[in-house]
Assembly symmetry: C2
Homo-oligomer: 150 residues x 2
DNA sequence: CGCCATTATTTGCATTTACAAATAACAGCG
DNA sequence: CGCTGTTATTTGTAAATGCAAATAATGGCG
C-alpha cells in the first residue's frame, strides 16, 4: 500500500472508474451507454429539465451533452422542446421509448448500488453517502467564488 | 433532494468529476493534465512500472495510456524501456524533468486532499477512505470472476 | 527444438469529449 | 423602443478515448 492508497482523489476516481466501466459493459447489450443512462435517470427524477440543468446534474459538459442528446433524439429516446417561458432554453423530455429503456436500466442500477455497498450496514451506507455529499460540497465551494466575482 | 441524491454511483461520480475538473483547470497553466499527473504520481510511488501496471493503478485504459505516454515521452517527462526480464513488457521511468514537474504538482495535489476533506476530522477522513477502498473491492470482485473462467 | 495458447503492448478507427467561438434570446435601462 | 451586457445552447475543431485487431514475446509441452 503506497501513498496513492491514502490519497482521497485517487480512491474516489478509482472506485468511480471501476463502477462506471462495469456498468457500461453491462448496459451495452441493451444499446445504452453510461451517459445515456445518466440523462435518462435525471429525466426520470424530473422530466422536462433544461440542458444546463442536465449538465449540472449529470456532470456532463454542456457541449458534450448537446451532441449526446442529438444522438438520443435520433434514437427516439428523448425530445427537445423550446422552453415556453424562456426561448433561449431547451427542455428535454423522455419519450415512451426512453421511459421503457429507463425501466430496463433501473434494476441494473439498483443492483450496482447493492453490489457496491455489499457488507455495509444501513448506518455505514448512509455515512458514505453523506461523506460523498460533503466532499462534493467542499470542492464546489472552492469553485464557486469564481462565479461571484464583480 | 431527488432519488439521485441517494444513489451511490451518482454521488461517487459527481464528487469525482468535480474534483477532477477543478484539479485539471488548476494544473493546466503548468502544462500538465490530470492524466499526466496520474501517471507521474504512480511513477513517484514506484518508478519503472509496466504499462499494464500503470493502467491498473491509474484507471486509464491501456491503449489510451500508450498514446498518453507517447505524448509525455515527446515532452521529455518519461522514458520507456524494454523490460530486461520480459521483452514483451515496457517499463516507464520518470526523467529529471518529469520529477521536477511531479514536485510542482505534489503540493497542489496535497491541497486538494485538504480542501476535499475540509471539516472532516481524522477519524472521519480515515473512514471515508476505508469505505472507498471497500466500494472498489466490491465492484472489483464482481468483475474478477470473468477472468477466472476456463 | 518448434508449435500453441497466453500475455504485454501498440495500432486502426470510429466515437466521445472539451475548450472556445458563434448564435439566439433575455432583461434592464436610456 | 433600441442598446448593452448577460445567459442558454449549439457549433467548430482538435484532442482524448476505447474497443477490436495486430504485433511481439513468453512459457509449456510434445
Amino acid at each position: 500500500m503506497g501513498p496513492l492508497d491514502g490519497y482521497l482523489p485517487y480512491l474516489l476516481n478509482r472506485a468511480g472508474s471501476r463502477i462506471a466501466t462495469a456498468f457500461s459493459e453491462e448496459v451495452r447489450p441493451l444499446g445504452a451507454t453510461l451517459q445515456t443512462w445518466r440523462v435518462l435517470a435525471a429525466l426520470h427524477e424530473r422530466d422536462g429539465r433544461r440542458m444546463g440543468d442536465l449538465s449540472e446534474t449529470t456532470s456532463i459538459e454542456v457541449s458534450t451533452l448537446t451532441r449526446l442528446v442529438d444522438g438520443m433524439e435520433k434514437k427516439g429516446l428523448v425530445s427537445r422542446r423550446r422552453d415556453a417561458a424562456d426561448a433561449r432554453a431547451v427542455t428535454l423530455h423522455a419519450t415512451p421509448a426512453g421511459r421503457r429503456l429507463t425501466q430496463r436500466l433501473l434494476p441494473i442500477a439498483e443492483r450496482y448500488e447493492t453490489v457496491a455497498l455489499a457488507g455495509f450496514n444501513a448506518v455505514e451506507a448512509k455515512a458514505v453517502k453523506a461523506a460523498l455529499r460533503r466532499l462534493y460540497a467542499n470542492i464546489d465551494a472552492l469553485e464557486k467564488p469564481h462565479r461571484l466575482r464583480g
